[in-house]
Symmetry: C2
Subunit: 334 residues, 2 copies
């Protein structure tokens, strides 16, 4: 491994993203990304009695899908890295408890997918593992219930709020295969600029995104134009605009090649999701469903993936705390 | 790195545990381990308005203490791995948000300290980092409030219940220094034998402990007698007895050199903690406070540390789910 600058690690051997899989819910099935997912569900319960059990089933089946698609036997996967938004990450632990693969629980809120891939890529690149599994999930109904209001209340959502994606993304990273390759990771610091509005996560997380973005450029000596695409997840419409302005104010113009998975997931005009999508599964499913295929088909050659997370809970909001953000970056090339 | 057997990694270069620190609450200050902690608090609030803020302060000050004791400048620490029991791991993210060190959030319930050290040791041994920080915390009052009943209710606790330790443990792992060395890690699988009693965590986690224990022995070819001490955290009195019996039934006699941090933390006769201590800080503070000093003073030369976690939340218990357990092992030698 080679440490570049303050935070970036250049992997000693690039790690192949062998395969990905994605399952999403009915709302996401009505959005512009629908054609790219492996499975679109018709209801939020998927035959289960509770939203929590449904979310566990979604991550479980997404993991089963990625293993089946990869052609790798489950017992050839050395370690699993997974986490989610539910208290104590129960959708991952319950969904993956029958997997029989050594398990590292990860919590990075909506940055979990990238955090898992950062950790997994160090394991693979260092020779500690040949194949690792990274997975995450989120669920609109279980997240609303836990973080905000019971859905039965029919509460009105403020315009700056985002819609938690129901779904899951999973990937297998490997020391063999012919790419796309993870070449660098830039794990992020906790950044808290004092935003206290739990209905404006985009504003809370945008500074963390920009901090990791600029750190990645400084550490690697690269410029925004090095990448065909830079994606964040999940700043939404409001957070995306803040991120572009904030990066510009620090001398980095990302207007032409940057987009946010929260913006991409839903149709702004017809789907009434206000500032866009959020949740671990937003970037998880869009990377797994859309961008991985773009890389495999060589439609894009270099992508910088920066997943963002808001590290708060409902108690901290009630206690008047501000919302710390974090963002982890992965540089991926074919 | 060398993969041994199914789950164990022999680190390519052993990783030094450079320094540790521990802070505990007033109940722990009355127990037999009190002389070994850096700081014993006189009340559960430590001048803060809420238990959650107190817990954040405890992990923050424990981290400040370990950095000060180590002599390493904070900006020479490459990455931080931390997590806790609170929903969305807020004591770690709030306590460490001013640290300015790239941050990996970890969730392994009471196995978090060992999980963090497993991840951190791979980063150091692989050359991805020179120094990493691992930290965890728990708090009796915030945990009771979140997982069980408001303390104000004065609820009676069943005899099989454990007492969540108020405190924090933190360590700095380094590629330089003269030990004690982490030489092997054995990350555990999720094991769920169907225990549904949330007041009997020891029973829920003991099978995961035994699974990781035996896997470690099979992977390394070692026997229980290889180690001066084997410690678990936190099975408590009931879980410890189950673990000894379960291991014996599979041909491994650990009676003479095994103990549990939940058993060690409190005086069974006078402190009224029923089955003993629990919480991320139980093993975290006892390893940091007691066993690290035993290693440094060469009173013990080889220790197998196996931290256990129960991967459930209060909703999963209400929904009748069983309790998945996990256990991560570290082999440490001088």
């Amino acid at each position: 491994m080679e440490k570049l600058g303050k935070q970036t690690i250049k992997l000693s051997t690039p790690v192949t993203i062998l395969e990905t899989a994605s399952i999403v819910g009915p709302k996401e099935a009505g959005g512009p990304m629908a054609p790219y997912f492996d499975t679109c569900l018709q209801d939020e319960f998927w035959g289960e009695k509770t939203w929590e059990k449904a979310e566990s089933k979604i991550i479980k089946e997404t993991v089963n899908t990625v293993i089946a698609k990869s052609g790798i036997a489950a017992n050839d996967i050395d370690y699993c890295f997974a986490g989610d938004l539910l208290n104590q990450c129960i959708s991952s632990s319950f969904g993956l408890r029958e997997l029989n693969i050594p398990f590292f629980g990860v919590f990075g809120a909506c940055s979990t997918f990238a955090e898992s891939m950062c950790l997994g890529s160090i394991f693979v690149s260092s020779g500690a593992a040949k194949n690792v599994l990274c997975a995450t999930s989120s669920h609109f109904c279980s997240a609303e219930k836990q973080f905000r209001f019971p859905l039965e209340l029919g509460n009105q959502r403020p315009p700056s709020s985002q819609w938690t994606v129901t779904g899951s993304g999973a990937t297998i990273l490997s020391n063999s295969g012919d790419g796309p390759y993870i070449t660098h990771i830039t794990p992020g610091k906790i950044i808290d600029l004092g935003i206290t509005d739990a209905n404006n996560m985009g504003a809370a997380m945008a500074p963390a995104f920009v901090d990791t973005l600029i750190t990645h450029f400084k550490d690697t000596g690269r410029k925004p134009s090095y990448y065909d695409v830079i994606i964040s997840g999940d700043l939404g419409h409001i957070g995306k605009d803040i991120a572009i302005d904030l990066a510009m104010s620090k001398g980095y113009n990302i207007k032409s090649n940057y987009n946010d998975c929260g913006v991409l997931m839903f149709d702004k005009d017809t789907q009434d999701t206000h500032s866009g999508g959020s949740g671990c599964a937003c970037l998880g499913s869009i990377f797994s469903g859309y961008f991985f295929k773009q890389l495999k088909e060589k439609k894009i050659k270099r992508i910088l993936v920066i997943a963002t997370g808001a590290l708060m809970n409902s108690t901290s909001v009630q206690q008047g705390e501000s919302i710390p953000g974090i963002a982890h970056a992965l540089s991926i090339e074919i």
